[in-house]
């Protein structure tokens, strides 16, 4: 078990992070090159001010008409997204690993809080699952891939929670957790999870067109 653990937390982690950072860089570079090649007018209309104006409105809970129309979804999705990033980044056990490997460290969350945040992420995933199964307008455009990416996101948090509490099969759970985390990292640039990166660009462009050209609000 130790050998397996050393392998997944060693070489496989390298692979995962290289694919994550490299993959993200690759996709963004390809996007910009494609814009330059086919639709360079986009550069003409992009505006820092209007991009940020739009992004800030949408990054504020209830800051837009559509957030206000869906108060429960807004609260869940903001909570979910903040926790899904903050938990792995500021978890003490993760930071210890960084310190042991690369001698870098930063502020960490109290474990109790991280525990709550993990549960919030899992609850969020359940909310999204139920929503996808129940709301007709979401169900209509849902396919297997939507459930797959939801599982990819839920898995590291479920296995992480179980591993932390050491309720059962701790060594196996640890290994599963590391692998689940790596699967998510690699999936981000190459699946719809890439909305993490691309939504900034699409939002910025729409904000620019609506703000600079159309003189209208896009929220």
């Amino acid at each position: 078990m130790h050998e397996i653990y050393n392998f997944v937390s060693g070489p496989l982690t390298w692979v995962a992070f290289i694919l994550f950072f490299g993959g993200c860089l690759y996709r963004v570079t390809r996007l910009i090159r494609l814009v330059k090649l086919k639709e360079p007018f986009i550069f003409t209309y992009m505006s820092w001010y209007y991009s940020l104006r739009s992004i800030l409105h949408w990054l504020t809970p209830f800051g837009t008409e559509n957030w206000r129309r869906h108060p429960v979804l807004t609260i869940v999705t903001f909570t979910f997204h903040i926790c899904v990033v903050a938990t792995p980044v500021f978890l003490l056990s993760h930071i210890i690993l960084w310190e042991e490997s690369l001698n870098i460290s930063w502020w960490s969350l109290p474990d109790g809080l991280a525990d709550v945040m993990t549960v919030l992420v899992i609850a969020g995933c359940i909310f999204f699952l139920v929503r996808r199964l129940k709301l007709p307008e979401v169900k209509y455009v849902t396919s297997t891939s939507d459930f797959v990416i939801l599982s990819i996101v839920a898995a590291p948090f479920v296995t992480g929670f179980l591993a932390y509490h050491q309720w059962f099969a701790y060594p196996v759970m640890m290994v599963l957790h590391v692998i689940a985390g790596q699967v998510m990292l690699v999936a981000i640039p190459f699946t719809r999870l890439s909305h993490m990166i691309f939504s900034v660009f699409t939002r910025a462009y729409m904000g620019s067109e609506f703000g600079k050209v159309r003189h209208a609000r896009d929220w």
């Binding site: 979401v138 169900k139 691309f198 609506f210 159309r214």
Partner: protein, 451 residues
């Protein structure tokens, strides 16, 4: 139009539109595949790819769409639902779709979406679903399956540079006729034709001379009273409308706008003022000009709303007695969501009318009238699509009427016609007016003689 089309010697079932039926009947699987891939690979780029790949299938765009809301939240009418039935299928099958699919895609793209861009406002990622639908229209155009009535207007554009088959000297004839009519009221009024060096070239959409000539009359009276230096061309290039923009015929759109701009250049005017139209504004402001390579239009384009705002603010037009019936203002998609003219429109309404009742939602969040985006131009076969697809508009208007509105201001020709159909069908009982109608009725006409 009610007879079923005969295709390959067989009468087809309930053929709603010959353009779609006969066009589709000419297609082969090879041609379909070739054209779809040619458009997607050859003509689209980062936008289509990123929009389709980033969409997280959340369905939040649904409540933006009047079709979705009016069809009792039927997911097939949600913006993402419409993309699923068209673009997703084309992409997933790599263009290998059949005739029936193409017919349905043509119907969805041309009669179940107004390209109003309300969905882009509601999507958390700012995905431009209207753009995706317009790519579907481009594919349908290249396959030759555009709905008949809409394609006919494109043909008219191609032959006469206007959408209403107004031929040659019918245009200056119409202007001179309206000038004569107006001279009965204001003997000194002229519609200056081909006046080089005037400040303003006034342009209209082709339906105006065809069946709304009194709008030209009214505009001439407003120009005359305001004492502006203006002209209209006697040649082609007078029509600012653009149905080619809605059929996906970008090349024709380019020809039309080039002719329009070059006519203005020829007359050496400082700016183009256009009548109360929505889509024409879109065409000159951020579609046709871009196709021709201009970041912004090559000379200032002033929409009628802004023009009236300027005239009223500068006191060039004086209102003798305000319009006394309570009005409500419809914000047309293309000039409000598309041009930010909502506050100027409110200034004009307040200046001319005693009481303005706001409908809700309003401004950029107003519901589309369901006529724009070429949908009303698909003609009688699809009228009920617009009526059934915009019950929320009827509800919105009823609510405004309950708050006291008696008159509906619709500063856009298509909105006017579309709202008229809705008001009539749902028996709402609101008179529909242009700003020009109200200003003409309430303004001071210094040179007018007693009737």
């Amino acid at each position: 139009m009610a007879e079923p089309a005969e295709v390959n010697g067989e009468k087809s079932k309930t053929a709603l539109d010959d353009g779609i039926e006969i066009g589709a009947a000419r297609l082969t699987p090879e041609k379909i595949e070739k054209v779809i891939n040619s458009v997607i690979k050859g003509e689209t780029g980062a936008r289509l790819k990123t929009y389709v790949e980033t969409c997280i299938h959340c369905g939040l765009c649904s409540e933006a769409c009047h079709y979705y809301l009016s069809h009792d939240n039927d997911p097939k009418f949600a913006p993402v639902g419409k993309v699923k039935q068209t673009m997703w299928e084309m992409l997933n099958k790599k263009g290998r779709v059949d005739q029936e699919f193409i017919k349905r895609a043509a119907e969805i793209a041309h009669t179940e979406c107004n390209l109003c861009k309300r969905c882009a406002q509601y999507c958390p990622f700012g995905i431009d679903i209207a753009y995706i639908i317009s790519v579907v229209r481009r594919i349908i155009h290249r396959l030759g399956v555009t709905p008949l009535y809409l394609q006919d207007t494109a043909h008219s554009h191609s032959v006469h540079m206007n959408q209403m088959w107004v031929k040659g000297d019918e245009w200056p004839d119409t202007l001179q006729w309206q000038e004569e009519e107006a001279q009965a009221e204001i003997p000194t009024l002229r519609i200056p034709l081909e006046k080089e060096g005037a400040d303003i070239m006034y342009s209209v959409i082709a339906p105006e001379p065809k069946f709304q000539a009194q709008l030209i009359y009214q505009a001439a009276v407003i120009m005359d009273a305001a004492g502006v230096s203006w002209t209209m061309p006697a040649t082609i290039g007078w029509d600012n409308s653009d149905m080619a923009m809605f059929t996906g015929d970008n090349e024709l759109m380019g020809r039309l706008k080039r002719t329009h701009f070059e006519t203005a250049f020829r007359l050496k005017v400082k700016k183009i003022v256009m009548g109360e139209c929505g889509h024409a504004f879109r065409s000159v402001y951020d579609m046709g000009n871009r196709w021709l390579g201009w970041k912004m239009p090559p000379l200032p384009i002033v929409h009628a709303i802004e023009f009236y705002y300027d005239l009223l603010k500068e006191g060039k037009i004086k209102i003798t007695k305000k319009y006394d019936k309570p009005v409500t203002l419809h914000d047309p998609c293309n000039v409000v969501r598309g041009g930010g003219l909502h506050e100027m429109a409110r200034y004009v309404a307040a200046a001319v009318c005693e009481e303005v009742v706001e409908m809700t939602p309003n401004r950029e969040h107003n519901y589309c009238c369901c006529a724009g985006g070429g949908v009303i131009n698909c003609g009688p076969p699809y009228k009920m699509k617009r009526i059934n697809g915009n019950r929320v508009k009827a509800e919105q208007l009823f609510a405004a009427k309950a708050r006291g509105a008696k008159v509906l201001i619709a500063p856009c020709h298509n909105c006017h016609s579309g709202l008229h159909d809705i008001v009539h069908h749902y028996d709402i009982g609101l008179d529909i007016k242009f700003f020009g109608d109200l200003i003409y009725e309430c303004m001071e006409k210094p040179e007018a003689v007693e009737a």
